[in-house]
Point group: C2
Chain length 396, copies 2
């Protein structure tokens, strides 16, 4: 297996871009990544695109950026689409099929209709038949994500005494970081009271504890070790990758998602790291689709014991100047969550942070935390559940 490095990134500002074509968001992101990597676009040998709604847009973006005749594979794995696309590109370069690969994540949420996500109304009708056969997984389908995660929050509060203020603090931290991220959709500072007094969506989750439906695009360039050493003095190495799937059953019953636990374990093992190795050493970008989600991830990834997630927030451990900064970009809660784009944007953040780019100067993670980084997305393709964890390091 060849070593693979991330060497370039581009992010089109996340926001509401209803009137833009996919290609009008994707083209600038790709051009920015190519310029950042310092390569000639003709050197790109493969492309992987993660998007739930953007059928054929990879072809259009490559055409409009002057990259013709290479393999393009589109991956759809709900909210994990971007991370999954990255994982496949990494496999491609690690295997030696390509020396340089382009990863695109993109989504226009207004166009990502239920008909699209469900595969047409005929599919939806069939799905009801499937739900009737599998009542244990019906909750998610009938409630939608906010209701589902609200139940998880209630359960966490009942079992561990977690307070609504602690949940709100996840958003407060998110906004503190996003305040310094000009590409985040929401950059406004919020207090715990602001968050709690926001519009109620599904108790205890208020609006700012639910990630917004955002449009956006991100692109990264990865390459083989041999080329990376030629092109950059600051490569970011891929050290581990885990992808795990299941169906939606375990989060509510266990307050733990097996795919999250397993994908992180796979990535840890590949990277020869343990959860503790991130404290005073690394940072993370995790899938904070809801405030409660980030707390559950702390626990599932082994960064604290079960039930002690809120303490990570209370003690400031995951603040940008804490022992282990989580979501320095502002995460999904503030950047927004254009499904396919998120996983790629997270990896762009890792590159910017590890290189100490101007791009992140105002939200720079401390030096001692720049050695390793973990990115994570999770998603629910219909009745399914998927999680992807990727781990990076400045050292080979």
């Amino acid at each position: 297996m060849r070593n693979v490095a991330v060497v370039g990134a581009g992010v089109f500002p996340f926001g509401r871009h209803h009137d833009l074509l996919y290609v009008e968001m994707g083209r600038p992101a790709v051009n920015e990544a190519i310029e950042d990597a310092g390569i000639d676009r003709k050197e790109i040998q493969s492309c992987y695109i993660g998007t739930t709604g953007g059928v054929g847009v990879g072809h259009e973006i490559l055409y409009e950026t002057g990259i013709i005749g290479i393999p393009i594979s589109r991956v759809e794995n709900a909210c994990v689409s971007g991370s999954n696309a990255f994982r496949l590109a990494w496999m491609d370069v690690a295997l030696g099929l390509s020396d340089i690969s382009l990863v695109i994540g993109i989504e226009k949420m207004k166009d990502s209709s239920m008909a699209d996500v469900a595969g047409g109304m005929g599919r939806l009708k069939l799905e009801m038949k499937a739900i009737a056969k599998n009542p244990s997984v019906a909750n998610f389908g009938l409630m939608g994500p906010p209701g589902y995660f609200a139940l998880a929050a209630h359960r966490h509060m009942a079992e561990f005494g977690t307070t609504k203020e602690e949940l709100a603090s996840v958003t407060v931290k998110s906004r503190q970081n996003a305040h310094n991220n000009p590409k985040a959709e929401y950059q406004n500072i919020m207090t715990v009271d602001d968050v709690l007094n926001d519009k109620m969506i599904n108790p205890p989750l208020t609006r700012s504890q639910c990630c917004p439906k955002t449009d956006g695009a991100a692109a990264i360039i990865i390459m083989s070790e041999e080329l990376a050493k030629k092109y950059t003095d600051t490569p970011v190495w891929v050290k581990g990758s885990g992808l795990t799937s299941s169906i939606i059953t375990d989060l509510l019953s266990n307050l733990s998602a097996m795919p999250n636990v397993k994908s992180s374990r796979t990535a840890y093992d590949m990277a020869k790291l343990e959860p503790n190795d991130f404290f005073k050493n690394g940072f993370a970008e995790v899938h904070d689709c809801f405030s409660i989600s980030e707390i559950l991830h702390y626990e599932d990834f082994g960064w604290c014991k079960k039930g002690e997630g809120p303490k990570m927030i209370n003690d400031g451990i995951t603040q940008i100047d804490g022992d282990f900064p989580v979501n320095p970009s502002g995460g999904l809660l503030s950047c927004g969550h254009p499904l396919g784009a998120t996983g790629v944007r997270q990896i762009a953040e890792v590159l910017y942070q590890m290189r100490k780019d101007k791009e992140v100067a105002k939200r720079q993670v401390p030096d001692e935390n720049l050695n390793v980084a973990l990115t994570h997305t999770m998603g629910q393709p219909m009745l399914g559940f998927t999680s992807c964890v990727n781990i990076f390091s400045r050292d080979l």
Copy 2:
């Protein structure tokens, strides 16, 4: 790069299965492939699913076949989805991430609505804006596949004197083979006159010269060389794979599709084979979405000179008892074309043929042609064009 073998396959009969859930077609195909491979389902370490409409169905199928907690990646690349899923699984095992991988191809065409393919109506509106920007690619979008390929047929007739009888002969050959394929949608013998007198769709293409909209599922099991040698005496080795993308511009202007030419060249080079090496040595399953398509493929893949495709049909070279049998299964024209399923079904056919299974006894390719095989799909994701060629051999 590790050697990878195909060792098991299952095909759910292609046809009109409007009332079945995706999982009700996919589960039997997967169980058949597992039984055929002689493995324990717990040994499967990854899954790749190709489907344009089946969002989340990979998760459902694995759940219902008792395979939990492995990575699943869904690939959508229009008609190439199944072949692309196979290519990714091959990369996975070749790289050593998995020792055994499951590939699923599945589609319910009634549910694969335009809204789905286009990513929602909002996407369609945006697409009109993109088409207005790229008038050179507008033809395909406005005409749809039958009109587009009908124009290609007219051009071939005008340039090379190809006759409508020669075009119809592609369907006649297809039905001759499908007559012995109980899993093909159309198994009826047709004469040239039958084909020409069939309902006219887009002149010169009659209905039986256009592949039908069919539902279906197929699954294959692939594994590493080490395991394959333990599990089977008749492995089918993956020797080459090429995937190439572009946009829809060159087929009408050149009567040649650059992605087809380039993906076959990539696969030939990887397999250390040349086009001539298939005559009296191999067979192929190509993407005969229309009668004219198969003729164009003969020419693009280097099996004859430009304009001489019809001669391959006239001379019986590509009949099942010819020097180089093409589409012994009956191909897309007779099996039907459930988009994501087709590429996987083709590889199942390669395995059955090379093992001389009972399954294909009545359509068995001659012994001397069983050494190498090529599978091919091509597709048009919106304005894009993609082609995938995979090559297999009985010899490592």
